[in-house]
């Protein structure tokens, strides 16, 4: 078993494991500072921040011989008997010199830089830098350049080239490049070819300093005011792990959260910038009831009193479970409708989709299916109804006046139904529509209920590869809105507050498909077993080892 010694601590590697110095040190709890190295990108070793002392131990005598020069840890693949020293005086001096060099022409406009607070340059300067500048030739403000999707602050850049490598290796679009030489090096795009691709937002997260700034987030908040919440993206069936950064119940940005099983380090721009609908002023904020006198806002208690009576008295009720609902909410709703009426017909709501999945050279996939939880909802519905009825079939049956009470859940971020489809459910005496925005369908509803957006909900999503991830609520819904989970929980007459964990436990016991999700679900999620072979699961995300190029 290969053994490496890092700062006197022994690390045993499994056979065939390829780690560089930074990863190996991280295993024993030592953080080696670095700018240019990123686990998802190739190694260039250009920033020189990760310089460490490297040596070897003679396996026979046990004598340690150190190399006279420092070596970059990112480009040093650890091998048996290797000795790394990360905290010596020599290393500290090297780091201080690198910091000094990087700050030589840096504008140090931290007060107006959006990266301040999560900036590597700041952090490392505090940890490794010198307290005094020996030269002061910095410009006072950073030159600003619009390079497409992203704003570039030219002088803040430390030339780590992460962004250039990203557009070459991951998105495969290659818009960014380094122009000029030496001290005049700058990041730029070729004239007429701005940075514009579906993954371009990731370069902002990659940038270790404040050179690349998000246009969507620019100057809106200081990062130390934001609270970060772990969540799951719901804009397509990939179900990327994300951070939602929020302040006082307002989402300011969405960032990728590292998850080797789903999205690795990346998310697409649609997920990153597609959160504004949460704060759309057009959202429904109060239950509305339609009576002979017209439509009027009512209190939730009226809905909670009236809806069960209507459905229990119905001849043939039906429910439409939106693929935007979480597993828990779908489970509670199915259970609720089933409890009200044993003959209830359950259908899955429309599944929005584009033509085809988009796969990027780095292995990242944007699914064609633009909903987060079709598989989870289908599993729940088929458990309660014995099979899955699609939206088209439901509409056809509704048009034949088969149903007299219908509960439709939606929650789509984009308009999802046109007037023609909305006119189809005929002869329905009680139509309950739970949605985010007014639609032709909700205009016809007897009960128009405001629904919660994804960041306000709590529950689990099953992605295209049957990978289940759990997300907690991150912001509170607007005043007047009740989350689906809490409404169904109360309608079922359960005690206390809605507890997604308890519902998932229940579903995992009852439905074999969810059985791996028993107990607390890990942050990264769990793999569920695909139910049958009739629906081939999408190809798993390709996970090649990090290429090391010279």
């Amino acid at each position: 078993m290969p053994t490496v010694i890092i700062d006197g601590r022994e690390l045993r590697l499994s056979e065939g494991e390829r780690l560089n110095g930074i990863e190996a040190a991280r295993r024993v709890g030592i953080e080696i500072p670095h700018y240019c190295w990123h686990p998802g990108l190739s190694v260039v070793g250009s920033c020189r921040m990760c310089l460490v002392e490297v040596g070897a131990r003679d396996p026979k005598t046990g004598k340690v011989t150190m190399q006279p020069k420092l070596a970059p840890a990112c480009n040093t693949i650890v091998a048996d008997g290797m000795v790394l020293v990360t905290e010596s005086e020599k290393v500290a001096l090297a780091r201080a010199r690198v910091e000094e060099g990087l700050l030589l022409r840096h504008p140090i406009d931290c007060p107006i830089c959006d990266k301040a607070g999560e900036c590597r340059l700041q952090d490392y300067h505090f940890q490794h830098g010198q307290d005094q500048r020996r030269a002061d030739i910095r410009p006072f403000t950073s030159r600003r350049r619009d390079i497409g999707d992203i704003t570039l602050f030219v002088d803040r850049c430390i030339m780590c080239s992460r962004c250039v490598r990203f557009v070459n290796e991951i998105s495969g679009t290659g818009e960014l490049m380094v122009v000029n030489r030496g001290a005049h090096e700058e990041i730029d795009v070729a004239p007429g070819y701005p940075l514009h691709n579906k993954l371009s937002g990731n370069v902002v997260d990659l940038c270790p300093v404040g050179a690349l700034a998000d246009k969507d987030f620019l100057y809106r908040q200081r990062v130390w005011f934001l609270r970060n919440h772990k969540s799951v993206c719901t804009r397509c069936a990939t179900g990327c792990s994300i951070w939602i950064d929020e302040n006082q119940d307002r989402i300011y940005r969405v960032r990728p959260r590292e998850n080797p099983h789903v999205n690795r380090w990346w998310i697409c721009n649609e997920g990153r910038y597609g959160h504004s609908y949460v704060h759309d002023p057009r959202r429904l904020t109060s239950p509305v009831r339609r009576t002979a006198a017209g439509r009027a806002p009512v209190d939730w208690s009226e809905v909670i009193d009236e809806a069960p009576k209507r459905f229990q008295a119905a001849r043939r009720p039906a429910g439409v479970i939106s693929p935007f609902l979480t597993v828990e909410e779908a489970f509670l709703l199915c259970r609720l409708l089933h409890k009200w009426h044993g003959q209830v017909v359950l259908a899955v709501g429309p599944v929005p989709s584009t033509d085809a999945d988009e796969t990027f050279p780095g292995g990242f996939v944007i699914s064609a299916e633009k909903c987060p939880n079709r598989r989870g909802v289908e599993a729940v519905v088929s458990h309660f109804a014995g099979g899955v009825i699609g939206w088209e079939e439901f509409l056809a049956r509704a048009a034949r006046s088969e149903f007299d009470a219908v509960w439709i859940t939606a929650g789509y971020p984009l308009p999802w139904i046109d007037a023609e489809q909305a006119s189809k459910p005929a002869g329905v005496e009680t139509l309950v529509v739970q949605d985010l925005f007014p639609s032709p369908l909700s205009d016809r509803a007897d009960f128009e209920l405001p629904g919660a957006a994804w960041a306000e909900r709590e529950g689990s999503y099953v992605n295209r590869n049957h990978w289940l991830q759990t997300a907690r609520w991150t912001i509170r819904p607007p005043a007047g809105v009740r989350t689906e989970g809490s409404l169904f929980w109360e309608l079922l007459g359960r005690e206390g507050l809605y507890r997604a964990q308890a519902v998932l436990e229940e579903a995992a016991v009852e439905i074999a498909y969810f059985s791996p999700a028993r107990g607390p679900v890990p942050e990264e999620g769990v793999q569920l077993t695909p139910p049958t072979a009739d629906e081939p699961s999408a190809a798993p995300l390709s996970r090649g080892p990090t290429a090391i190029r010279r």
Partner: protein, 175 residues
């Protein structure tokens, strides 16, 4: 921590002596102090009739102002450091891209809730460009809560009122 923790050093109370234990000397001492102060000159400033004397208006912590630069523009760069430092959370800034070529960021709105403010001066300490300063104006009053929420224009007008008597810190260091 246990009482016999070796890191605690116990201070023994001073030995009182017989006179001290009889309470008499301290009894007399207390009464004489009180009586002496009963007749000593009073320190009260009778405010509306008399004005408070401010020894050094530069270090006094009264109403805030937002300083202007040489071109009369708001000096603030909307870095939020004052809002970060503020222990009372009374500063609210909305930042935006500045309309001027030589500046990156400026405050679109800048409001201070003077009722919430505790006049600690941390905002002035935190400001990297000496844009927010506390003046020596202390007689601050208003008829409604809304009136006491000062916006950017109001804060700049306080600068216009006070810039002659109290030059800003950068102006002081220039001279």
């Amino acid at each position: 921590m246990k009482p016999d923790d070796p890191s605690i050093s116990w201070v023994e109370p001073p030995e009182l002596g017989l006179a001290g234990k009889s309470y008499l000397p301290l009894f007399v001492q207390g009464l004489t102090t009180t009586v002496r102060h009963l007749f000593s000159p009073k320190k009260t400033v009778e405010y509306p009739e008399q004005d408070h004397e401010i020894p050094d208006p530069i270090i006094y912590r009264g109403v805030h102002r937002l300083n202007r630069d040489e071109q009369g523009r708001v000096k603030c760069v909307a870095c939020f450091l004052c809002a970060t430092a503020c222990p009372a959370h009374c500063i609210d800034i909305v930042a935006a891209e500045s309309p001027w070529p030589d500046r990156e960021k400026y405050p679109q709105t800048f409001t201070i809730d003077e009722l919430r403010c505790i006049f600690c001066g941390m905002c002035e300490e935190a400001c990297p460009v000496d844009a927010i300063e506390l003046t020596s104006l202390y007689n601050l009053s208003g008829k409604s809560r809304e009136e006491m929420i000062f916006d950017k224009e109001k804060l700049l007008s306080i600068y216009d009122q006070t810039c002659q008597a109290e030059p800003s810190r950068t102006q002081r260091s220039d001279s």
